[in-house]
């Protein structure tokens, strides 16, 4: 077993060169290079988490904007609906008043017309009466030869007319 057989003559050189090369490994690679490699990893991790945070912030901002837009949109819609409703009400009120005015005008005309008709009828009736009175006087004078006074004839005609 050379490890034991050669121990006396080689242990010092083994340990010496181990210290030299492991020392180089430790100081140059371990202390010099590894921290830089790890720093790169840390940098990347930092970058990734920063990017993720930025993306999240951007998304939150977008959500906020959308929410604000939605609120504004709803307000606008409500306002628009209010305007429409108001216009509708106004229009309805206006047309109603117009209709009412037209109705009153019509009613008035109707009443006037009725009054005129009633007047005409009374006038006609009066004329018919006077004609009937004169006719009755003539008829009596011609048939009976008697002269009937106008009031008496009128009275008789009225009586006859009211009896139908």
């Amino acid at each position: 077993m050379p490890q034991i057989a050669q121990l006396a003559e080689t242990w010092s050189s083994q340990i010496f060169w181990l210290m030299v090369f492991f020392g180089i490994t430790f100081f140059v690679i371990g202390r010099g290079m590894v921290p830089k490699v790890m720093e790169t990893v840390a940098q990347r991790d930092g970058q990734i988490s920063a990017d993720l945070a930025a993306a999240k912030a951007a998304r939150d901002a977008a959500d906020e904007q959308e929410e604000a837009w939605r609120v504004r949109e709803n307000e606008n819609r409500a306002a628009a609906q209010a305007i429409v409703a108001k216009a509708k009400d106004e229009a309805a009120a206006k047309s109603e008043s117009k209709l009412k005015a037209a109705q009153t005008r019509l009613d008035k005309k109707l009443a006037e017309a009725e009054a005129r008709i009633a007047e005409a009828r009374t006038a006609a009736l009066a004329e018919v009466e006077s004609v009937a009175v004169e006719a009755a006087q003539d008829i009596v004078a011609r048939i009976a030869g008697a002269k009937v006074t106008k009031p008496a004839a009128t009275k008789a005609v009225k009586e006859a007319m009211s009896h139908g």
């Binding site: 050379p2 050669q6 060169w17 090369f21 492991f22 490994t25 290079m33 990893v41």
Partner: protein, 262 residues
Amino acid sequence: MAAEQAKVDPMHQFTIEPLVGSGNWEIAGYNIAFTNSALWMLITTVVLFLFVLGGMKRELVPGRWQMMVESFTGFIDNTLETNIGKAGRKYVPYVFSLFMFILFANILGLLPLGVIGIHPFTFTSHFTITGALAILSFSIVLVVGFWKHGLHFFSLFVPHGTPLPMIPIIAPIEFISFMVRPFSLGLRLFVAMMAGHVLLEVLSSFVIDGTNAGALWGSVVGLPSFILMIGICALELLVAGIQAYVFALLTSLYINDAENLH
């Protein structure tokens, strides 16, 4: 090399040889020959450096290579964070170096480069190396423990809720289990790597000797051994990863003891 010898020596692969002319290098009387083991440490370091360098492009959208390196650092980071907590991050450079160094050493040692004449040397199959790494980890635990908690660190040996009369018995047991840690840490890796390589070498000797003994033995012994070797190779790759992970995981658990006591 083993194949060229009349008899295959499964242990030969662990032999350390000084490379050309460095056999007598010394510092303060200690031999520091640049051996094949040191060469493979160098290769491991260079390959690991190139691997991590490929992940240094620092692109925001990572390529495959960068992703791979980042998944390794992330893996170590996660392990430390689950075991130690937030305070664990400062140990990432050490545990990452440890894990990757062992992982690359294990895997490079398994490469079938023998086919083109280069024989990989798995230095993690030497307890000198694994022991040194284990002691390094253990020292860090001790330093961190005493630095953060001072003498209070000794309360580690008295688990919560231990009845007073039990303390004289529990404390030595805890102390022993604590002191065994560096040995178990170092030996586990060393044994696992060595056992795997010996097994592969023994099976390959079956293949060679069986085939040399003729067509009959070649098909009865050689072929099944060869098929088994392929399976064991896959298993060894798994072991290479698992042992590196276990080493790093246990180190982080021990550091957790030092960092947070119980």
